[in-house]
């Protein structure tokens, strides 16, 4: 069937509005016109006008449902001289930074003998509230001169300035489904179809996604973005690179209790609990607001991952709970973090396209920093384009490599990324080698690194019986799994209960059910007329799936188990687009070893909260 698809031409089409695209648009827009209003960067599609630059963002507004960060803010400050955190809601300079090693006050976590030894060793430093304050923060982790930011608020702050300038257009609520490829040249993007059924077939009010043709497509759609995925499928990853390391970040934005003494700019990192591999964070904003949460890494080799339940246990750790007790949930969110860093770097430039930000592998996995690097890559691309405009050169592979990539490769982003490149190798072998590896790489500036062989996330998840062999009998496991299958429930909660994790005693404010967290803090919505963006590629694989980890890890309870087992149900109206299902699935695809059995495509909607 031929589809009557509308087409529009612009000079530059951007996909996704996050820190990278913001950095790109900020730098570019500042160079577009002179102070007297005359045009410095002229459009090719509309001669006599400034460059026509549009950006399409999937979320219903810019800054919806992103994340809270602590960042050194080097690139941000360079671009925004005189940056005053007081002008940005929920921002503060870092005042104090602490790292806590959390011991297990309940004795329910999965602790290897190495971790138990670490518990004892750290215990020598003095234990308070079942936690040990590390006396030293390695310089590579230190953010002392940095900022705590809500990226939601920051994105709105900078986005409003950009839109208000009238020089660039940022359109929220518009998912981009794919790049327009002509052989190896990207000639623009295709927006998602509207007025379609759940499976994508045309329905009432069908409006085929428009083609936006552009001389340059800037791909900043993050770690799970559909355009980035399609480019990876087309070009493959550069030799030796992989995207096998991920983390699911889940967090709360909390109004701290009135008697809380934590000051704005306080930064806390934790490790050790509720499972040793889980890192936690707490950043304090002005007005007694804090962002806090945990990262569940793909190398947490547990088949019972549920970020929500684990987060509730983390919050109740005595060393954390003493700050939170009496607080109230304000907002909630989750996201995937591409933790392969430079190892996960895709093909960054080609004819007509360039990739920036987290999806381009810019996150530094050693320093735990991504926003600043993402912003920097956007700035570097904009500077490259300004150079090309001056030279009147096209956006060819060679030119983008020379200008954008040249800048990126010669910047601190690249220098730091090289140091970090092998810093995570140790985690392929476990928690202790992981920490040692990070320390080794960090303290030797990447000259010495531990080795390690990476596996796909789905190759790492053990069967229940293997994982729980020392704590539950095969029969106990079988009973729980079968009961859950019949009831259409995933088995992670009953398994955690069986292991002795105490039930969460809800206080109605901060300790609340997952469902309530979604209602109170989640604020999720999906526009009508878009197709389901999560699908299960080979249903037979789901039939045989024991762990149903996609259900357990689904941040928004958008994926639910089917009664009697089989392909899970997906509810678009609950999905927050964290993309965790995509990499958490325990089954790889036969036809595409890069991808799991869960397909994550372009979709509309998600969180309606900028307090993130």
């Amino acid at each position: 069937m031929s589809i009557d698809r509308q087409m529009m031409e612009v000079d530059i089409a951007c996909v996704g509005f996050g820190p990278a695209t913001a950095g790109f648009l900020h730098t570019l827009s500042q160079a577009m016109t002179a102070e007297d209003g005359s045009i410095l960067l002229e459009s090719k599609v509309m001669p006599g006008m400034p460059l026509q630059v549009v950006c399409y963002e999937r979320a219903d507004d810019i800054g919806f449902g992103v994340s809270g960060v602590v960042t050194r803010g080097r690139a941000l400050r360079e671009s925004l001289p005189g940056l005053d955190p007081a002008q940005i809601p929920m921002a503060a300079p870092v005042k104090e930074e602490r790292v806590l090693y959390l011991k297990d006050p309940l004795g329910k976590s999965h602790r290897s003998s190495g971790v138990k030894m670490l518990d004892s060793l750290f215990g020598l430093l003095g234990v308070k509230d079942h936690a040990v304050k590390l006396p030293y923060i390695p310089p590579f982790l230190c953010k002392e001169d940095g900022l705590v930011l809500s990226i939601g608020q920051f994105s709105q702050w900078i986005g409003n300035q950009l839109i208000g300038s009238g020089l660039v257009q940022v359109w929220p609520g518009m998912p981009v489904s794919e790049p327009l490829l002509e052989e190896d040249r990207v000639v623009g993007i295709r927006l998602a179809d509207q007025g379609v059924e759940r499976d994508g077939t045309p329905g009432p009010g069908y409006m085929p996604g428009m083609d936006i043709r552009a001389a340059l497509t800037v791909v900043g759609d993050g770690p799970v973005g559909p355009v980035g995925q399609k480019l990876d499928e087309h070009f493959g990853l550069p030799e030796g690179n992989h995207q096998d390391e991920w983390a699911g970040g889940m967090k709360f934005v909390v109004e701290l209790p009135e008697d809380c003494t934590l000051q704005p700019g306080f930064v806390l990192h934790t490790l050790g609990y509720p499972e040793p591999e889980i890192f936690g964070f707490l950043y304090v904003y002005p007005d007694r607001i804090a962002a806090l949460g945990i990262f569940v890494p793909s190398w947490l080799d547990s088949p019972v991952r549920s970020s929500y339940r684990l987060l509730q246990h983390w919050m109740q750790h005595p060393a954390i709970w003493k700050h939170l007790k009496g607080g109230t949930l304000r907002s909630w969110g989750a996201k995937s973090l591409q933790e392969s860093g430079q190892r996960g770097e895709p093909v960054l430039v080609g004819d007509g396209f360039a990739r920036i930000g987290e999806g381009s592998g810019s996150t530094n996995v050693l320093t735990g920093s991504g926003v600043d690097e993402a912003w920097a890559t956007g700035v570097q691309l904009a500077e490259g384009l300004i150079q090309l405009a001056k030279e009147d050169e096209p956006y060819s592979h060679a030119n983008l490599e020379r200008t954008y990539l040249g800048r990126r490769r010669n910047s601190w982003v690249e220098d730091d990324a090289r140091i970090a490149k092998q810093a995570r190798n140790g985690f392929t072998r476990g928690m202790i080698p992981g920490l040692l590896g990070m320390a080794l790489s960090g303290l030797t500036n990447g000259r010495f690194n531990l080795g390690g062989a990476f596996r796909r996330p789905w190759q790492r998840i053990p069967a229940f019986k293997d994982y729980f062999s020392e704590r539950l009998t095969a029969q106990e496991i079988d009973t729980i799994v079968e009961d859950c299958r019949q009831q259409g429930k995933p088995p992670f909660e009953p398994l955690m209960d069986k292991l002795g994790w105490p039930p969460i005693e809800y206080d109605g404010q901060l300790l609340i059910s997952h469902q309530d967290a979604l209602l109170i803090g989640g604020k999720v919505q999906a526009a009508h007329g878009f197709a389901d963006h999560v699908s299960f590629v080979d249903p037979s694989v789901c039939d045989d799936c024991e762990s149903q980890i996609c259900v357990a890890m689904c941040s928004g309870q958008a994926i639910s188990a089917s009664e009697g087992g089989g392909v899970p149900q997906f509810d678009r109206e609950k999905c927050i687009h964290c993309g965790i299902c995509m990499w958490n699935c325990t089954n790889g695809r036969v036809d595409n070893p890069l991808r799991s059995n869960v397909s994550f495509a372009a979709g509309s909607g998600g969180l309606h909260s900028a307090e993130n």
């Binding site: 329905g203 009010g205 309530d516 209602l519 009664e563």
Partner: protein, 342 residues
């Protein structure tokens, strides 16, 4: 001293709606609370004598009326002229009126013409230290304010169901008719009539004892993997008719029509309760197959006793909102309820 004008309009049969008696009671109570403020009644309609007779014993100082064929129908241009004339004659400081589609349309403009101010959806009226305070809801029933105003005349449009209706013996009332001239410019609008839904699909019943809220679950796949719209329609209509209930729907159920999904044939946006729908007042409410959250459950705000049937024990309509939640299949339960009610 405050001076009160109670406005009311007749229905097609010349009688006053229940809400008018409620507002009358509110006006009389307020007058007493103010230490004996004078109350004038102002009536609008084709023929208001019967209406006036029905309230003649209320103790109002006098009954004014603007009547005649020009004032039979509910029309902005003529209704504002009528209200303006009544206010001019009575010279009140407070104008009370019941909420109706007719008054909701004309009173704001009339208040403007009288250089007055207006508050609608009044949920309570009190006298505090000699000053009149009213209560009304903001942000779609999500917060409630108590407020006062210095400006007069102050129009207060009272929500129905808030006050008990005034009751008294009918008699023969003396009505002071006001002559109001209507120009051609007021006749550009002609009321053609009222469109009433077919009797077997009449589902909105403001006077009903029970509000039955149907959620999107009725049109979703049931345990057998199939959608059973016909069965759902039969069960819902069965309950509405045998239980003499009013039918409300959640937003998501109504939205399905714009998504092209299968819908309950006799339900429309008019049935919607909640954020972008109505917030009706009924003594009891039964929510079925609803899911959703705070902004939509405001449809429950003014329901007295609330119960819910849902397969989801965390149903947002039920937890903390309803008195009882039955975790059960509504198809099964309502079939049995209907059988018992039959």
């Amino acid at each position: 001293m405050e001076k009160i004008l109670l406005l009311a309009h007749t229905q097609a049969d010349g009688s006053l709606p229940k809400a008018a008696y409620e507002s009358l009671n509110a006006a009389l109570t307020l007058a007493t609370d103010l230490g004996g403020a004078a109350v004038t009644v102002g009536l609008i309609g084709a023929d208001v004598q019967a209406a006036a007779d029905s309230i003649t014993a209320c103790g109002a100082t006098n009954i004014l009326a603007v009547s005649g064929e020009d004032f039979a129908a509910s029309r902005y241009s003529t209704d504002t002229v009528a209200v303006e004339a009544l206010v001019k004659e009575a010279a009140p400081t407070l104008v009370l009126a019941p909420t109706s589609s007719r008054f909701s349309r004309c009173l704001p403009g009339a208040a403007y013409r009288c250089d007055g101010r207006i508050e609608t959806h009044i949920a309570d009226i009190k006298v505090n230290d000699g000053a009149v305070q009213v209560q009304r809801w903001y942000y779609r029933q999500r917060m409630v304010a108590t407020l006062a105003r210095a400006q007069r005349p102050w129009f207060l449009v009272v929500d129905s169901g808030v006050f008990e209706p005034w009751q008294g013996t009918a008699g023969s009332a003396e009505v002071q008719a006001l002559e109001v001239a209507i120009g051609d410019d007021c006749r550009r609008t002609k009321v053609i009539g009222v469109q009433t839904p077919d009797s077997d699909t009449q589902t909105i019943r403001p006077e009903a004892e029970v509000l039955f809220v149907a959620g999107a679950g009725w049109t979703k796949k049931q345990p057998d993997g199939q959608v059973h719209i016909k069965k759902a329609e039969e069960l819902i209509l069965g309950f509405i008719n045998s239980g003499k209930a009013s039918l409300g729907s959640s937003k998501s159920l109504v939205d399905q029509s714009s998504e092209g999904g299968e819908v309950i044939s006799f339900m429309s946006h008019l049935n919607q309760v909640g954020q972008t729908g109505s917030t009706p007042r009924h003594p009891k409410g039964l929510a079925t197959c609803c899911h959703g959250e705070e902004p939509h459950t405001v449809g429950w705000r003014f329901i007295g006793e609330r119960r819910a049937i849902s397969l989801d024990p965390n149903c947002g309509w039920a937890q903390g909102k309803a008195d009882v939640l039955y975790v059960a299949d509504a198809f099964e339960v309502i079939a049995k309820v209907n059988a018992l009610l039959a």
